[in-house]
């Protein structure tokens, strides 16, 4: 479904040049969930942004269902591929009601039966219709993230790009959102590309996981490999230990990888 090869993203020029993503290649099959993990600043979001073309200065090739992706956003691919952002507090317009937020993509893509679709979308993410005319500030973080997901789903996309969809939420709400995402994927056969820095979350959601470090793929593992603690790279191993429980001696042994 998604076929990325030799993806490079560079920000800035000259001395302030920053190669945020370097020679990244991977393939995701239709219906698969693919995870991206790595510490902060390793370039995870940048990969997603390139695919969704929120960043336009990338080189390499990205294919969606076999079709080469242009640099400019076009309405058709936008509709097939939607994104959910990390911060539910920042990704909803503070002055739009939930209804406005859900209506907007329908208007942009000139879809019919808007009323009905909005109601269905709310139901899909498990929110009552009483939410429809509230403002974002009137609902909780978890509910906001559901709205963000509903907004992405309302266009009936095939691919969902998820950029740390739960890292701003507390554990109890995180569980609800993860369950929701899993259920939807099962019902609709969506393809997920999911970014997180929480190994457990990625392992819970995805079949395969890519570990990123400083813009490069350190390695790609299956979830089993991750669980069994048999990564090839030291970097991944350290990430794994850090994700576990607190251990004083282990923490002191951490090194930095360049």
């Amino acid at each position: 479904m998604i076929d990325v090869s030799e993806l490079n993203v560079t920000f800035g020029q000259g001395r302030s040049e920053l190669r945020a993503v370097q020679d990244v290649s991977f393939r995701i099959e239709a219906g698969e969930s693919f995870g991206l993990v790595g510490e902060s600043g390793s370039g995870k979001s940048t990969v997603l942004r390139a695919i969704s073309r929120l960043t336009q200065d990338w080189t390499g090739s990205i294919k969606i269902a076999g079709a080469e992706l242009e640099h400019r956003r076009d309405r058709k691919t936008t509709r097939r591929m939607q994104m959910v952002f990390q911060d539910p507090y920042g990704s909803l317009h503070p002055r739009h009601t939930i209804n406005d937020i859900l209506m907007e993509p329908l208007e942009i893509h000139r879809m019919d039966r808007r009323e009905a679709r909005v109601l269905t979308a709310l139901e899909d993410v498990g929110l009552g219709i009483e939410m429809r005319f509230r403002y974002p500030y009137q609902i909780s973080g978890g509910q906001r993230q559901r709205i963000a997901i509903a907004r992405a789903l309302i266009l009936e996309p095939e691919i969902l790009l998820l950029d740390e969809p739960t890292s701003a939420l507390d554990v109890s709400v995180q569980a609800e959102i993860l369950n929701l995402l899993k259920r939807i994927q099962r019902e609709r056969g969506l393809t997920y590309l999911m970014v997180s820095h929480d190994l457990a979350v990625v392992a819970h959601m995805c079949e395969r996981v890519a570990v990123m470090n400083r813009g490069r793929f350190a390695e790609v593992l299956t979830t089993e490999q991750l669980r069994s603690g048999t990564p090839k790279q030291d970097y991944t191993r350290q990430l794994l230990t850090a994700s576990g429980r607190y251990d004083r001696d282990v923490a002191k042994s951490f090194v930095s990888f360049d």
Partner: protein
Amino acid sequence: MTPLLSVKDLRVTFETHRGPVKAVRGVSFDLGRERLGIVGESGSGKSQTGRALLRLSAGNGRVSADKMEFDGIDLMTASERKMRGIRGARISMIMQDPRYSLNPVLRVGDQIAEAFLVHSSASRREARAQALQMLKTVQIREPEKVYQMYPHQVSGGMGQRVMIAMMLIPNPDIIIADEPTSALDVTVQMQVLALLDDMVRERGMGLILISHDLNLVASFCDRVLVMYAGRVMEVIEAGRLNEAKHPYTRGLLNCVPELDEPQDMLPVLQRDPAWVTAGD
């Protein structure tokens, strides 16, 4: 051993246009020279409890308590002057997000030195030396260089360490750490915790660690206080967390995905309205 800090029936209420918001309603606990964890979901009143201890609640907040005593001092009635002497010097608090919690126009080193100077009559040179020493203690490699930096120049992990250095420099008896690691990467998170751990061990302080990550708190602290909607649901030895009985605690524990055991769907927390009113 008498506890360092003793709190009984602490309540914090905020006046808003929609009416009063009871953020903390009847929290009681004692703290010795130990690591106490406070956990609970977002909005459960963890931070407000911490702030109330320092009498730094927001302007629209009202604090009341049957007892809020630190080392024989009644924190409820102490004069503002006295409180200033306590803040930082005896009880200090590591703030949540170093990006916003450091003054952007002052050098980080000077901010650390200031914390020292406020409570001692030392000279600037001494304060500077102390601050450098402290930076070294929190394992900053080039303290001289970092001393001269401004907050926007330091990374999140470094900022958090600066924050810790700043709060530790007057050598307080109690330190409240409000989610000191939630903005950090897992590896850095561990390192910061290790640092706090060292401090508690070496200096014999009391530590309150506020977090919403039950597993983390369980593995780090001695005792855990579980909060929900401004109330304490349960206090439990960290080691025996798995034996927790309260459904809320159990719920929180269960809903975290585990790396080592695959689950299909995660159990979600079923909130019981009775928890809110229990004991009123």
